[in-house]
């Protein structure tokens, strides 16, 4: 019985022959194990260093005013006021993005996993992956040419750019949960004489609702931190006052960080760090929650 396992290079098989080099092989093994461990430690260390820098450098800027006022122009070359207009703008942008991306994403997912023939579904899945891989600055340029050139910058334009980025994430996670809904549910619905649309809307969607919503929060965590798509769509805003008007350009937290980081005065840097801390806390907490929820809804469905 000396069959070599499939998929193994014949050269690799030579590795398994024991000879006098056992000691060297052990050392190489140790070395490689150490490198793998170091790589993991390095990644965790970078995370810790970045998060620690953000918290440490931004700490001094936190105050009630930081969250309750907008930037004021009275400081000559120094940062005055807070980031309220950015927080409101970010919320508005994320809400607009969700309003567009969530229903379309779910519809696409239903089409791909419930309705479409396999080949068509494959094409659309590939298309979703391609959209997911688009550089976000190109998405921004696209919305710029479709909307902004004619109508000027607005929160809607920025939100739409973010929606394009969120769409494949929502569609994919929705697809994944839809696939986990047991076939017996579908058969049960059909056996009761329910038409397919009622089976899908009444049985399959409610079953996968939790998974779809957590996928949506994951998308929100992603788009909330995006800057590039906002540059050409909603960057030239009045920063000193809060606006909820979606037809006006709005300031946002990522953009504030981007602009403050380029300012010469350290007071801007401190505010940039503090804004970064708020954004980072939001993004990390939301993605942790959604990961936890996604794992839970997956467990529920696969039981």
């Amino acid at each position: 019985m000396s069959t070599t396992p499939p998929n193994i290079d014949p050269r690799a098989a030579a590795l398994f022959q024991t000879d006098g080099r056992l000691r060297r092989r052990r050392i190489v093994n140790r070395l490689m194990e150490a490198l793998g461990t170091i790589a993991s430690l390095a990644a965790v260390a970078v995370l810790v260093i970045v998060v620690a820098s953000v918290v440490k450098n931004g700490w001094g800027a936190f105050s009630v005013e930081f969250f309750t006022t907008s930037p004021s122009l009275s400081g000559f070359g120094t940062a005055e006021g807070g980031i309220l207009s950015s927080i409101v703008g970010s919320i508005l942008l994320v809400v607009i993005a969700t309003i567009f991306a969530l229903p379309i994403g779910v519809l696409v997912a239903i089409f791909v996993s419930e309705v479409a023939p396999r080949k068509v579904a494959d094409v659309i899945r590939l298309a979703l992956d391609v959209i997911n891989g688009l550089p976000t600055i190109v998405t921004g340029i696209f919305i710029f040419s479709v909307l902004v050139l004619a109508q000027g910058q607005s929160a809607i334009a920025g939100g739409l750019a973010l929606a394009i980025i969120g769409l494949p994430l929502i569609a994919r996670s929705a697809q994944e949960v839809l696939r986990l809904v047991p076939t017996s549910y579908r058969e049960a619905g059909l056996a009761l004489g329910a038409p397919r649309w009622r089976t899908i809307l009444g049985v399959i969607l409610p079953t996968s609702l939790g998974g779809i919503l957590t996928g949506t929060t994951l998308a929100i965590a992603r788009v909330a931190g995006e800057t590039a798509p906002l540059l050409f769509t909603t960057s030239l805003a009045v920063t000193t006052s809060v606006t909820w008007d979606p037809t006006q350009p709005v300031q946002s937290m990522p953009l504030t960080i981007f602009q403050y980081a380029e300012q010469p005065d350290p007071s801007f840097h401190e505010q940039a760090w503090a804004t970064g801390a708020v954004l980072l806390a939001f993004v990390l907490v939301v993605s942790l929650i959604s990961k936890f929820l996604l794992a839970r809804s997956r467990r529920k469905l696969t039981q």
Binding site: P5, I8, D9, A12, L15, F16, T18, N29, M32, L35, T37, S40, A42, A43, V46, L47, I49, S53, V54, I104, L107, V108, F111, V112, V115, A116, I124, A127, V130, I131, G133, L134, P135, I137, V138, T139, I141, F142, V146, P195, W197, R198, G225, E226, T227, A228, L231, L236, P254, I257, F258, A261, E262, A272, L279, L280, V283, S287, L288, K291
Partner: protein, 319 residues
């Protein structure tokens, strides 16, 4: 005796047929919309670049100039910057990420496996603008005062490491891109490694292979196509990143001979021009840059997706 229906209803109710057709139509429209969206992006970006294309033609690709005053534009230094930063980022990120994925699947004690995995994934969740801020204010001074002088003292005889150390430059951008690419490659590689059949690894172990030899002979062999795709996906990320690169690369139009010098990439040049163009030709040239970027990223993504799909087909579909 209850009445037993002797025949089934002749057809489905009218409303049900409408409902089914409506559901098909609406979801199909959404699905078609996704495909149309890609077409629309490509069309709009190419359409926007037509003015620059008619002026500069393909010569745009080989001219290293960005001069709004004289209306002269070219993409060569940005293509060069994109290629160099992405290449260095992958050179650093691929082995680190594969090392992480191997550690997480083969080495790490069960108790810390999930925690470390989640932390590495959190690295991917850091918004790029925050990484860029960190790149400017923390990494930049470190590069200037420590890493670059240190590199120079060892490798200064290589032209790539000559010149004055600087806060912003190609090397800073490459390191930031490395940090972004590592979690992406690691998470794809980890999924691949988990799928390596246990009997193959057991077979190698039974032959007396050390852990590394199992990895080298079985795990890496089995997953190498997928690993290629993982690295290409990381490349796609590095190539298209605009914000963090703009923040740390320095933004100059030149073809730097040293990694310490500043430069620019396609994506970061577009991002840096957001406050407005001096002329229609400049705007159109930005679209031209975006078109180049779009073509690169489409090719890269399609290749990666095809490899992934083939891997899933041969390795997962078969089992």
């Amino acid at each position: 005796m209850t009445a037993v229906p002797t025949e089934f209803p002749a057809g489905r109710r009218f409303g049900d047929r409408i409902g089914d057709n409506a559901l098909y139509a609406i979801t199909a429209a959404a699905g078609a919309g996704v495909v149309v969206l890609i077409g629309a992006v490509a069309w709009k970006v190419f359409d926007g670049s037509s003015l620059a294309f008619s002026d500069f033609g393909l010569g745009f690709l080989v001219h290293s100039v960005w001069d709004p005053v004289h209306n002269e534009f070219g993409a060569l230094s940005f293509i060069y910057g994109t290629a160099v930063t992405s290449f260095i980022a992958l050179l650093l990120a691929a082995p680190i990420a594969i090392g992480i994925a191997l550690y997480l699947t083969e080495l790490a004690p069960r108790a810390i496996r999930e925690t470390v995995g989640a932390l590495v994934e959190m690295l991917a969740a850091i918004p790029s603008v925050i990484l860029g801020l960190w790149g400017i204010l923390v990494l930049g001074p470190f590069m200037l005062n420590h890493l670059e002088p240190w590199l120079q003292s060892f490798l200064g005889w290589i032209p790539l490491f000559s010149g004055d150390p600087s806060q912003k430059g190609i090397l800073s951008a490459s390191i930031v891109l490395t940090i972004m690419a590592v979690p992406i490659i690691a998470s794809v590689a980890r999924e691949l490694f988990v799928r390596v059949p246990a009997e193959l690894k057991d077979g190698a172990r039974a032959l007396g292979a050390t852990r590394w030899e199992v990895v080298r002979g079985v795990v890496l062999q089995y997953t190498r196509a997928g690993l290629g795709a993982a690295v290409i996906l990381g490349l796609g990320r590095a190539l298209g990143e605009a914000i963090a690169v703009t923040q740390v690369i320095g933004g100059t139009v030149n073809i730097p001979s040293s990694l310490f010098e500043s430069g620019d990439t396609l994506a970061s040049r577009i991002a840096a021009q957001y406050q407005g163009s001096a002329s229609n030709l400049q705007t159109s040239s930005l679209f031209y840059l975006a078109a180049i970027l779009l073509v690169f990223s489409l090719i890269i993504n399609l290749i990666a997706q095809l490899i992934v799909r083939r891997f899933e087909h041969t390795h997962i579909g078969a089992s």
